[in-house]
């Protein structure tokens, strides 16, 4: 195995090759996920079946922090399908005292929740064959990378569209040249702030599911404003 796959921030150069190499995994759940493939990579974004996903964690460091909840929802260029929404609270095992409350999730909430490995089959099935969309990819990518090695000693990596990075690049391209020259900073790219620029409503509560829905709505808005629907998914993925 390529050792760089363990490195923070690294992603395979050619996703198709990586997917090939993983399809033979002896881990049945993981094997199904990779066998479903990344076929959407060659489609137009308009036609791609998407899945917005968000996680909440006990902190920002994938080395020591744990996932406490996962939310996801299927969507495409036309609709976000709330009947497909899924949300799990996850028991992270031992919680340090400092992280008793994370985003309103309390220790007692998660102590009775399933552990991450027990939700994996369902999570992997929900994700299989769908283009994952996240806001700020570093979180999901690094926590999932870590999780893959922890659970199966295998890398769990997949292409994503990152609405955060997409916003940054669209804004940079549309910025006037002199502002770019002057190094004018971009406006805030946080999810709520970015949504405001598209006149998307504010959500009061933030949990992994609400943020996944918010991310799906945001990509629809970005697709319309920047005319991304006819672009090939491959060009927009990271």
């Amino acid at each position: 195995m390529d050792n760089r796959l363990k490195e923070r921030g690294y992603a395979p150069k050619v996703w198709a090759e990586f997917q090939q190499s993983m399809s033979g995994s002896r881990q049945q759940d993981l094997k199904r996920f990779y066998q479903a493939g990344f076929g959407y990579m060659d489609e137009k974004l308009n036609d791609a079946p998407c899945l917005a996903i968000d996680i909440e964690t006990t902190g920002l460091n994938p080395e020591q922090d744990k996932i406490v909840s996962v939310g996801l929802v299927e969507f495409d260029s036309a609709r976000v399908y709330l009947p497909t929404a899924k949300y799990w609270l996850v028991n992270p095992g031992e919680l340090s005292d400092t992280s008793i409350v994370v985003h309103g999730i309390t220790h007692s909430d998660v102590s009775s929740a399933p552990t991450i490995d027990s939700i994996m089959p369902e999570l992997l099935d929900a994700m299989a064959g769908r283009l994952c969309v996240v806001h700020y990819r570093a979180m999901e990518r690094e926590f999932f990378r870590k999780l893959g090695f922890a659970l199966w000693s295998q890398p769990w990596l997949f292409p994503v569209i990152d609405t955060f990075a997409l916003e940054a690049s669209c804004l940079t391209h549309s910025q006037r040249w002199f502002n770019r020259l002057l190094g004018k900073p971009l406006p805030s790219l946080r999810l709520p702030d970015t949504r405001l620029r598209y006149h998307l409503p504010e959500y009061e509560n933030h949990n992994a599911l609400v943020d996944a829905i918010a991310t799906a709505e945001l990509l629809q808005a970005q697709m319309q404003k920047w005319r991304l629907g006819d672009r090939c998914v491959k060009e927009l993925c990271q």
């Binding site: 969507f75 709330l82 009947p83 409503p201 009061e204 319309q224």
Partner: protein, 615 residues
């Protein structure tokens, strides 16, 4: 697996018909929704296409059209549409287009039908609405003025004559067609003028012109025309402002028809227009005072008809101006003609076309440069006192700050007014300006109206280039902060009735119009209305584009809340004021109010940075 979506439920639960659903039904509904985003200007529903969902406007705004493409309604966030289609063969009956960037929640048809059956109040909502929708779609008279396109008033093809038609023939054709006006066009179909009943009377018969005079000689050529996409209320305002009774409606260069004042009156009896006509034909101060009693009910109706705040403000301002104008005429009748020409001007909200109820009179006189205190002083003193007291009787209380024509200080010659504005602008003293900012919104009401226009232009040219003046004005505009605490909570004061409330005028619309005034003066705009000023400012690159929408939305929200509170006060027979107790508002309204205040805070921050940075 059913999943909880409290955020989705909360967004719907404040609104009809969802507020009628039990919690678990709403919860099931939330988890069956599909969400869809559409940019402004996109088609949401096209006529006759299949429809499988009820649409809920989560944010943004849509326009709903009739089959013939005319605008039927505008629906902001919190409203539903598509029910007509769902109830009739699942085909779109009323097409919809986004007017703003919008987010929709789509409720599946099976669930919609199911709930209509199961929950009677939910179902009733659609039945009532379905009925009224049908009724409104068919009957013109029931619609409100803001959404009635003027084309609905055109009942017949225009009567067209050529310039060489004789007045006799024209008169015959006019009476044969039971029509009020003939359109004069050249052989290429270009509109040259119109001839009305009253033109024939005043210009032919009264002057004993021969009956073979060509209409060319007597037609009105200074025409006000309006585009076919105009709304009824716009035409109404044009008629009122220009005292004209016939307006040709154009499709590009082609005359579609002529709309007359009578058509409008017939369509909208009992409204602000009728009141204005009565005011302008009033023959005594007593009868004016009597008429002013109708003001609250006219106001209530305007607000109820879901007029925009811009429209309410304009209508109330036209009414206010009419009272002033007629009062001035009646006083002149009593005192005899003025010894020198003058111009009566209105200041502040009336000048900005933003008048609501509860507003004192702010006015002044521009006198001719031939005015001499010793000779003419007595006339204008008496004139002004009678004028201001008369207006007081009509429900426009005397101005506590004495910004009234009855105050000798505000009766000045044209040149003195120019000097006064020069002084304010060139030697800005924030304290003096604090009381004077109202003078920077001015409009002519009666007399030599041109003088007021001149003054507006003079101010616009001068103010633009004076940084210290703009800085002082900006500093003043920062004095009244929106009532939001550190944690975005409302900061309340006790009002007269010992209720915790906030003054939405002092803390909301006033600071916002102050901000807009500074930008308008800085960009040399001569417009007075805040919404129009925003449009004007947006042509410059002063603010990022999305800011104009934010400011306009905040202003609309604050004004409409003010208007609504006043309307409720009238309905409940309370004294209308400008206080709002946020507790009495729905959560959604509280949130949008906070958002509007937040926009003000940000705009004040920008104002400070833009105009006072070096001061």
């Amino acid at each position: 697996m059913s999943i909880e979506l409290p955020d989705i439920e909360r967004a719907m639960t404040d609104h009809e018909p969802f507020c009628w659903l039990p919690a678990d039904a709403l919860s099931d509904m939330a988890s069956s929704i599909e969400v869809s985003y559409k940019q402004a200007g996109e088609v949401v529903l096209a006529l006759n296409e299949p429809i499988h969902h009820l649409y809920f406007v989560r944010s943004g705004e849509v326009e709903i059209f009739r089959r013939d493409g005319s605008l039927y309604n505008r629906l902001p966030a919190g409203h539903v549409f598509g029910q007509m289609g769902l109830l009739m063969n699942a085909k779109v009956r009323f097409p919809a287009t986004t007017r703003k960037d919008s987010l929709f929640y789509l409720i599946p048809i099976q669930l919609f039908m199911d709930y209509c059956e199961k929950y009677s109040e939910f179902g009733d909502f659609f039945e009532v609405n379905e009925h009224s929708i049908l009724e409104q779609a068919i009957q013109v008279g029931k619609d409100d003025m803001t959404t009635v396109p003027v084309t609905e008033l055109i009942t017949s093809e225009p009567l067209v004559v050529t310039p060489d038609t004789t007045v006799a023939e024209c008169a015959i054709r006019i009476s044969e067609n039971y029509i009020a006006a003939a359109v004069v066009q050249d052989k290429h179909g270009i509109l040259l003028g119109i001839v009305t009943d009253s033109d024939l009377r005043a210009r032919v018969i009264a002057k004993s012109l021969p009956y073979d005079t060509p209409v060319d000689d007597i037609m009105s050529t200074e025409l006000l025309v309006m585009d076919q996409h105009a709304y009824l209320h716009e035409v109404m305002l044009v008629m009122l402002r220009n005292n004209t009774h016939h307006v040709p409606i154009m499709d590009d260069h082609r005359v579609l028809g002529v709309v007359s004042l009578l058509d409008v009156v017939a369509h909208e009896s009992q409204n602000s227009l009728l009141l204005v006509r009565s005011i302008l034909s009033s023959e005594s101060i007593d009868s004016l005072a009597q008429l002013s009693k109708q003001l609250p009910s006219v106001y209530e109706r305007l607000v109820n008809e879901h007029a925009t705040s811009h429209m309410i403000g304009s209508a109330m301002s036209v009414i206010g101006t009419s009272f002033m104008q007629q009062m001035a005429k009646l006083v002149e009748d009593e005192l005899g003609p003025p010894p020198v020409p003058y111009c009566l001007i209105a200041l502040g909200s009336l000048a900005r076309d933003e008048q609501l109820l509860v507003t004192d009179q702010d006015n002044a006189l521009i006198l001719s440069d031939d005015y001499h205190e010793a000779i003419h002083g007595a006339y204008f003193e008496q004139f002004s006192n009678m004028l201001c007291e008369g207006l007081d009787r009509c429900g426009y209380p005397l101005c506590e700050g004495l910004i009234m024509a009855s105050n000798p200080k505000w009766r000045m010659r044209r040149s003195e007014w120019r000097d006064q504005f020069t002084d304010w602008i060139e030697n800005p003293d924030p304290k003096a300006l604090l009381n004077a900012s109202i003078f920077f919104d001015l409009v002519a009401v009666h007399g030599k109206k041109l003088w007021a226009k001149e003054l507006q232009k003079f101010i616009a040219t001068k103010a633009k280039n004076s940084k210290p003046f703009l800085a002082s004005l900006a500093r003043n505009a920062l004095k009244r902060t929106p009532p939001l605490g550190v944690f975005k909570n409302f900061v309340l004061e006790e009002d007269g009735r010992q209720q915790k409330s906030l003054n939405i005028k002092r803390r909301g619309t006033a600071p916002l119009t102050d901000i807009i005034r500074v930008h308008a003066l800085a960009t040399g705009s001569i417009l007075q209305n805040s919404f129009e000023r925003l449009d004007d400012i947006s042509k410059t690159k002063l603010l990022p584009n999305e800011k104009y929408d934010e400011l306009a939305n905040a202003l609309e929200l604050l004004y409409s809340m003010r208007a609504r509170e006043q309307m409720l006060a009238i309905r409940e027979k309370r004294e209308p004021n400008n206080n709002i107790a946020p507790d009495t508002l729905s959560l959604t309204r509280q949130r949008s109010l906070k958002e509007a205040f937040n926009v003000i805070t940000q705009a004040q921050r920008f104002l400070k940075y833009r105009y006072t940075a070096n001061g």
